[in-house]
Symmetry: C2
Subunit: 297 residues, 2 copies
C-alpha cells in the first residue's frame, strides 16, 4: 500500500458550512475555495443548489459558480437536491453535479421531503439529463450504514440503490456515513460487498468523525481498494436534517494519514492548516482536526 494516488474531495464549502451558526457570504466562500484550490486539493464540492429558505448558508450558489475561474487542477462540483436545483446548476454552468438520495424512507422525507422511491426516480432523471448534457455526475448514498430514524441499513439496500444510480448515469458512487455511525467492521463489510459488484475506482467514502472512527473507517475502506474520500477542512460539518451528525472527517487529518501511509495526495498540508485558521477566524470558533493542534504547537 504505497505510492498510489488517493483522491481527496473537499466538501467543506458545502457539507462543512451548511449547518454553521455563522453564515459566510459568497465572497468569503469564494475566498475559501480559492485557498483550497491553491492548496492543490483535487476536488471541491463548492455549493448546493438547494432552496435558500431551507438552507440559508447555501444562498448564492450561482454567484459561487460565476466567481470561480476555470481550473485545470481541481474538479469543481455542486450538489443538486432535485430537478429544480439541477436546472439552476446547469444554467449557472456547473460541470460536475452530485445527487444525494438517502438509503431510507424516513431520511429522504426529512432531507428532501420525498419518498425513497420518488427520490431515486428524481435522482435518476437528473443523472440522465446531466449525462445527455455531457456533465460529470456523482451520486451519494446518504446514511449508507445507519439512519438516525430507521437504524442499521441493509447492505442489499445500498447495492440496489447503487445499481439504479449507475444505470441512470452516475460516474461515481459515494457511500456516506452521514451521522458517523459506521465502524471499521461495517465499513469493511459494505465496501467488500460493493467491490464484488462494482469497479473500486468508481467508489468513494464520506465519513463523519462523530465517534472518532472516521480515520479507522478510511483505513478499512483503503484495505478494500477504495482510493477516493470526501473530507472537510477543519472537520467542519454536520447535516441540518440528521440529528447526531457532528463534524466531518478533517481534511488535514485525512491528508496527513494518507501521506504517512505512503500514498500520494498532491495536497499541501501546511496550506491546509492555514485554511483551518482562515475558517476559524471567519466562523469565530476554534476548529481543526487533531493535526492542526499538533503541528501548530
Amino acid at each position: 500500500m504505497n505510492s498510489e494516488f488517493v483522491y481527496i474531495n473537499e466538501v467543506g464549502p458545502r457539507d462543512g458550512l451548511q449547518n454553521q451558526k455563522t453564515i459566510l457570504g459568497t465572497e468569503d466562500r469564494l475566498k475559501l475555495i480559492s485557498l483550497l484550490i491553491d492548496a492543490n486539493i483535487p476536488g471541491i464540492e463548492v455549493a448546493s443548489f438547494v432552496n435558500p429558505k431551507a438552507v440559508p448558508a447555501m444562498e448564492g450558489a450561482h454567484e459561487i459558480i460565476d466567481g470561480l475561474q476555470e481550473t485545470l487542477t481541481c474538479d469543481i462540483s455542486v450538489l443538486v437536491p432535485n430537478m429544480k436545483g439541477f436546472e439552476l446548476a446547469q444554467a449557472a454552468g456547473a460541470k460536475i453535479i452530485a445527487v444525494v438520495p438517502s438509503a431510507t424512507e424516513t431520511m429522504n422525507q426529512k432531507n428532501i421531503n420525498m419518498s425513497l422511491k420518488d427520490t431515486l426516480d428524481s435522482s435518476c432523471k437528473i443523472l440522465e439529463s446531466a449525462k445527455s448534457e455531457q456533465l460529470q455526475t456523482r451520486a451519494y448514498v446518504s446514511v449508507a450504514w445507519e439512519c438516525p430514524y430507521e437504524g442499521v441499513v441493509e447492505i442489499s439496500t445500498v447495492l440496489d440503490i447503487a445499481h439504479k444510480l449507475l444505470s441512470a448515469g452516475a460516474d461515481e458512487i459515494i457511500l456516506a456515513d452521514t451521522i458517523g455511525a459506521a465502524n471499521p467492521a461495517s465499513v469493511d463489510l459494505l465496501f467488500q460487498a460493493c467491490v464484488k459488484e462494482f469497479n473500486p475506482s468508481i467508489l468513494s467514502g464520506h465519513f463523519h468523525d462523530t465517534r472518532a472512527m472516521a480515520l479507522a473507517n478510511v483505513y478499512a475502506a483503503l484495505t478494500q481498494g477504495i482510493r477516493k474520500f470526501d473530507s472537510c477542512i477543519g472537520g467542519l460539518g454536520g447535516c441540518p436534517f440528521a440529528p447526531g451528525a457532528a463534524g466531518n472527517l478533517a481534511t488535514e487529518d485525512l491528508a496527513n494519514m494518507l501521506n504517512q501511509m505512503g500514498f500520494e495526495t498532491q495536497v499541501d498540508l501546511q496550506k491546509l492548516l492555514e485554511i483551518v485558521d482562515f475558517c476559524s477566524d471567519k466562523l469565530g470558533a476554534p476548529l481543526g482536526g487533531r493535526m492542526s493542534g499538533w503541528l501548530t504547537k
Copy 2:
C-alpha cells in the same frame, strides 16, 4: 470479527496523570481507580515506582497499592523503571509489574538515563526476579514505531528486544507508539511481523492519538489478531520525556469502537463517561475523547 473478548488495560492513573499540570494526590487517584474498577475495566496500571523527584505526579505509589482492596475483576499493575522501583513495588505488595525499555539508544537515555543495552539488561533482571517471586510481568517496548530523537525504528530491532524480554520472563509484550507517530500501515507491518514469531495472545498495543490515528491503528492491530490494548480515560496523557507525545487513545472511544464492532469488552461505557467528568473536574480542564462530547449532548 465478533463476539470475541478484547481486553482493555486502563493506563490513565499512570500514563494519563504523570504529565498533567495539576497533580492529583493519592486520595483522588485511589478514587479514580475505584471508579474504574466499578466500570468493570479488566486491567489498570495504577502507579509508577519512579523517583518522585523525576515525576512528582507519581508520588505515593506505595500508598496507592496499600489503599486498594483485593479485586477479583481487575488486574492491577504498576510500572517499575529500574531495579530500585521493582524492589519498592515488591515491598508494597504489587502482583503485576511492568518494565518499560525503549527501542532506541537516545530514548532510553532521556527516559531512564541508561543506555539501550543497560536498560534491556536491567529490564531482563527485573523480569527474572519477578518471575522467581511468582509475579505477573508486562514488558513495554516504548517508541516501537518511531522515536522523537532517532526517527523510524526498524522492525527487526523491536523483534530482537521482544525476544530478549520474553526469554527473561515477560508474560506480555506491549508495543507502544509513545509519540503517536504510527499509522495503520506501519502498525499492520509491525504486528504482522510479530504474530509470525509470537502468539498474538501475548501481544498488546498502546497508541497515542496525537495525529487522530489511534483508533485506525487499533483497527490495523485487530486485523492482525491483537486483542489487548492500553488506553487512558478521557484521552489523558503524554510522556514527560518524549516531546510530541500528546493524549493517549481515550478509553471511552476505544470501548465504543470495540462494542460497535461486535467485540465483548465487559466495560460499562456510561460509567466511563462519568469518570471523564470526574477527571475533568479534578484536573480543572475539559477532557474526553470524541465519545463523551457525543453522548453528553
